[in-house]
């Protein structure tokens, strides 16, 4: 609670600051009018900056409101955020009205349609689950187009009937005006719907239906609005069959044309991202600018801007995500969310503020209540009717409860309000009544239906979204299912959905990938491979986390044991993360070992007799001091703080340390790893140089960290115990996770042990057969170990319980191994004690 009060106080202060413009403008007015007599030291320049200043302040205020709510989770659990934002909008509006006696701030249609809406639509399109969307596109279109027309027509007609019957008293309107009103208020609002449905996690089919419908029917409703607006302007007498047919044609042209504009822009974006590799910094910017342009272009051509922006987002997501750098993708994602969420917040706050203005309120009980009733009833009827028709054709019919939730989820929102403000007061005498009715409808649906939605979903036991962890098995199986269905359709001679999907996939793979994707992206775009890659990364991060936690904790208690264990895991994982992070490395892997072999042998002779005292150690491992390369600033590049000399130095050092590891491996002498701290500290610094070295040999990158740590070798192989064989193996620069697994299990194999790892590696490479066999031999246990660790790492916060939970898993892993040969006897226990 104190948090709430504090924030409220801040809000009030900000508001007071805002509501002072009258004073401020007077002051500046005085200042500028008079010719100056002396040099002013500071001037009050409110007048010049007040517009951007107010905008920025309002954005800040709205976002602060959101912050306030998130501090009170018990509040947001009951009332959806959108409702709360509207409430605080009322409060703010009240304060402003109290201060100024007029409502200074209102949501302007232009601001709404051109500055607030586009990013929401673009974000919705961009983060749309593609497969689900296109899989249900038919149903979504039926709901969006026919459903919206149904809602508009029935509401208009029913209101007209009541008006004719005299239920509303004396208001100046007509059939066309009421139809127009019906069409503007017909559309389910994506902003409101997403805000509510994101909090109740309904199953994915239901979600995509409601979400897709709300997104597309905005486009439809704007089109309908324009058509009816034109009809009203023409006047009832002018409208004949030709005009109506024209209206219908324009409806389809506007909707389809808008979508096409969106698709064209999606193609453009995808093509652009193909060649933005060298300007990675503004790469994400293109998405936003072009997305916005698609909106504006469609608007310019008087096509449906919302549809255009939606389809732009939906169509381009796959290709740009594949084309762009991973970093840019996450930038786009998060920025998109910032914009969308931000403007959503602003919209709701202003929906609240706009209401506190007596000048817009006209009360007509019958009109308002009837509208509310009709909207509610016809929405349900429409949903039931359309679902019944759709269920005749759907593979998985929607059940009754789903339909209820769909009907109940018909929240109206800001689009309706924006549209109603666009009305021309000269043509529509009852504009104010329409505005107040729209506001009431919005409040009613967002607040009441929004609040009751969650209990309803729980009460009806709607199928919730299954929280499924994507696994490789599932992904592979999904793919098999696809192929299977296509094959069965072929055999039974039917042309069905699967047939069409298969056709499309072939077309996409053949042409679109070629046209829209960079060659590298094309290679790695396979979903099975992708999920494999992601799982690896996930494992790696959890592994590192676990290693850090474990290492740091155990380090304090018992130096020796912890060291061994931690080092082992850490080094291993480090390796893995990097290799899997960069696909290029994956693919370049084949060209690895030959180069470094030569270097090794040369260096070997040169530095045979060298010993490792502390001096040398420092000299080798501390970077040379260099001025002014750490904190350079560049607008063009992300990684500026790397120095070419340093890269050189690091490279040389890597080579040197590789030589050492080679030497030690050959002599049967392995340095123990002691400096676990080094590992951690040096990692970030060294990241940059990876890029430069991996051109020549991708693996130089991978092994430098642990090489580094083993530089100070002193004790022999026996002393090193279990950690040795694996490390030596790592030195060979294997980058494939397939080999990763072998590292741990390397030791039980006596013949391999004696061979320096890279030699083994080259043999393997020349024959090209051995790795697979080796992989077959003993892959299973290490990664399974990995998998088991992952959940543990997530779930445990207390370290003690973590260690407890973990130890059985490790032991288990060990026990699966074949019993190690005698010389290595001690190692199993040594490592995992």
């Amino acid at each position: 609670m104190p948090a709430l009060w504090r924030s409220t106080f801040v809000l009030v202060m900000v508001l007071l600051a805002i509501s002072r413009p009258s004073l401020a403008s007077e002051a500046t007015g005085n200042g500028t009018e008079h010719t100056i007599t002396t040099l002013p030291i500071v001037i009050w320049k409110w007048e010049e900056i007040h517009f951007p200043y107010l905008v920025a302040l309002w954005v800040l205020v709205s976002w602060l409101c959101k912050l306030v709510f998130q501090l009170n989770p018990c509040l947001t659990r009951v009332i959806p955020e959108s409702g709360l934002l509207i409430c605080i909008g009322w409060v703010l509006g009240g304060i402003i009205y109290g201060a100024d006696k007029v409502q200074t701030f209102r949501l302007q249609p232009f601001t709404f349609f051109f500055y607030l809406l586009p990013q929401i639509v673009l974000d919705a399109g961009y983060s749309m689950p593609n497969k689900l969307f296109f899989g249900n596109l038919g149903a979504i279109l039926v709901y969006a187009v026919i459903g919206t027309c149904w809602n508009a027509a029935t509401l208009g007609l029913a209101l007209w009937g009541c008006w004719l019957g005299g239920a509303m008293g004396n208001i100046d309107t007509g059939l066309l005006q009421l139809l127009l009103f019906g069409s503007l208020i017909a559309a389910v609002d994506p902003v409101a719907v997403i805000a509510v449905f994101e909090e109740v996690h309904v199953n994915e089919v239901l979600y995509i239906l409601v979400f897709g419908e709300s997104l597309l029917n905005d486009g439809v409703t704007v089109v309908l609005f324009n058509v009816f607006d034109a009809f009203v302007s023409l006047g009832g007498a002018q409208i004949d069959a030709v005009e109506i047919i024209k209206g219908i044609i324009s409806f389809f042209v506007v909707a389809v044309g808008g979508s096409l504009v969106g698709v064209v822009f999606a193609l453009l974006i995808s093509l652009l991202t193909r060649c933005t590799k060298n300007i990675q910094i503004i790469e994400p910017g293109f998405i936003f600018v072009l997305g916005y342009l698609s909106y504006l272009t469609a608007e310019m051509l008087s096509l449906s801007a919302i549809l255009s922006c939606t389809f732009c987002g939906v169509c381009c997501q796959k290709y740009i995500n594949a084309n762009m750098d991973e970093r840019s993708v996450s930038t786009v994602r998060s920025t998109m969310k910032v914009f969308a969420n931000g403007s959503e917040t602003i919209i709701f706050v202003f929906l609240g503020i706009s209401a506190i203005d007596p000048s817009i309120w006209v009360w007509n009980t019958a009109f308002i209540l009837l509208t509310l009733l009709f909207i509610f009833v016809f929405r349900f009827i429409g949903v039931f009717l359309l679902t019944w028709i759709l269920n005749q054709y759907r593979l998985v019919p929607l059940d009754f409860i789903d339909q209820l939730v769909m009907g109940y989820g018909g929240l109206r929102g800001a689009v309706a309000y924006g549209l109603v403000l666009l009305l021309d007061e000269n043509k529509y005498k009852e504009k104010k009544l329409m505005i107040s009715t729209t506001l009431i409808v919005v409040y009613f649906t967002v607040m009441l239906q929004g609040i009751t939605m969650k209990p309803l979903v729980t009460w009806l036991k709607v199928k919730r979204a299954a929280v499924s962890e994507r696994t490789l098995a599932e992904k592979i199986q999904n793919r098999t299912f696809d192929h299977m269905l296509v094959a069965i359709e072929d055999i039974s001679g039917q042309i069905g959905d699967n047939y069409m999907r298969d056709k499309w996939n072939n077309f996409e793979e053949k042409w679109l990938y070629w046209l829209l994707m960079t060659p590298i992206a094309r290679k790695s775009c396979d979903p099975i491979f992708n999920i494999f890659h992601k799982l690896n990364i996930k494992d790696a991060t959890s592994y590192v986390k676990e290693g850090e936690r474990r290492g740091s904790l155990a380090f304090v208690r018992n130096e020796n044991k912890a060291d061994v264990d931690f080092n082992k895991k850490f080094g291993c994982i480090d390796f893995m993360t990097r290799s899997s992070k960069d696909e290029n490395i994956f693919f370049l892997r084949d060209s690895v070992p030959s180069v470094c072999l030569d270097m090794h042998e040369q260096d070997l002779k040169m530095r045979e007799s060298e010993d490792f005292d502390a001096h040398h150690l420092l000299q080798q491992h501390l970077y040379k001091g260099r001025k002014q390369h750490r904190h350079r600033y560049s607008r063009k590049q992300l990684e500026v703080n790397k120095d070419e000399h340093e890269v050189q130095e690091i490279f040389q050092r890597t080579m040197r340390s590789r030589l050492e590891s080679f030497k030690s491996a050959k002599m049967g002498v392995a340095p123990p790893k002691k400096i676990s701290k080094h590992l951690k500290k040096d990692q970030p610094q060294k990241m940059p140089n990876g890029k430069s070295t991996d051109n020549s040999k991708s693996h130089a990158y991978g092994d430098e960290d642990f090489e580094f740590s083993e530089g100070d070798s002193a004790s022999g192989y026996e002393a090193a115990g279990g950690s040795f064989p694996m490390r030596a193996y790592r030195g060979a620069g294997i980058v494939n996770p397939a080999f990763m697994a072998e590292m741990d299990t390397m030791d039980p194999m006596p013949p391999m042990q004696q061979i320096p790892s890279w030699l083994a590696e080259t043999e393997v490479d020349s024959s090209n057969m051995v790795p697979s066999q080796r992989a077959q031999l003993r892959l299973p246990w290490t990664p399974s170990n990995l998998r088991r660790l992952a959940p543990l790492c997530l779930s445990t916060h207390s370290n003690d319980s973590f260690l407890l939970a973990d130890s059985p898993a490790t032991q288990e892993g060990i026990s699966e191994l074949p019993p190690p040969p005698p010389p290595q006897d001690g190692q199993g226990q040594g490592t995992h004690k």
């Binding site: 199986q477 269905l485 094959a487 072929d490 055999i491 959905d497 396979d526 491979f529 397939a738 992989a775």
Partner: protein, 203 residues
Amino acid sequence: MHIVIKLFGVPLSCPITNSMNIWFSCFLFIIVTPAHIVRLYDRFEALDKEKTGHLRPQDFGAINRLAMNPIGDRIIGAFFSPGQETVDFHSFVRILAHFRPADKKHPKDPSMPEPVNSRTSKLKFAFQLYDQDKDGKISRAELLQVLRSMLEMQVTEEQLESIADRTIQEADLDNDDAISFEEFRKSLEKVNIDHKMSIRFLR
């Protein structure tokens, strides 16, 4: 020589040699409705170029698009029970019946044997596509074969192998380095099989 059999108001025209099959299939109408049988019978005849009343693997191979399907030959194989060279209409329908969406309106009669479109039998069908040697387990090599055919050129052999290993580790509960049917079922517990293994026209 054709006879016309009227079955639940649906006239079925079929050669006498196959009438027994048709009748037999009609006992299966719980899993496939008469209308489907008519359609499938037309298809069966179209595939059966030599009019023997039996389909051979070559007949399936003649379907163009099936040849492009990476697991097409496995699907074809699934139609032929072990040791048999041909498939008659009855088995043909029985196999396709796997792909009928589960009927939610009529809850299963416990006294009846499990229908072929139940979740378990659907999964069994999917499972045996992998398990080519019919030992009840998907071995690493078998999985690798499927992966190889599905991932084509994009991925190198070693990556394939590590994917296969990883998949087996995910599913493998008893650490025998292979996926048994139980494990297979477990690994797909969250997947809505009825969605994924159903075809609309068989509804």
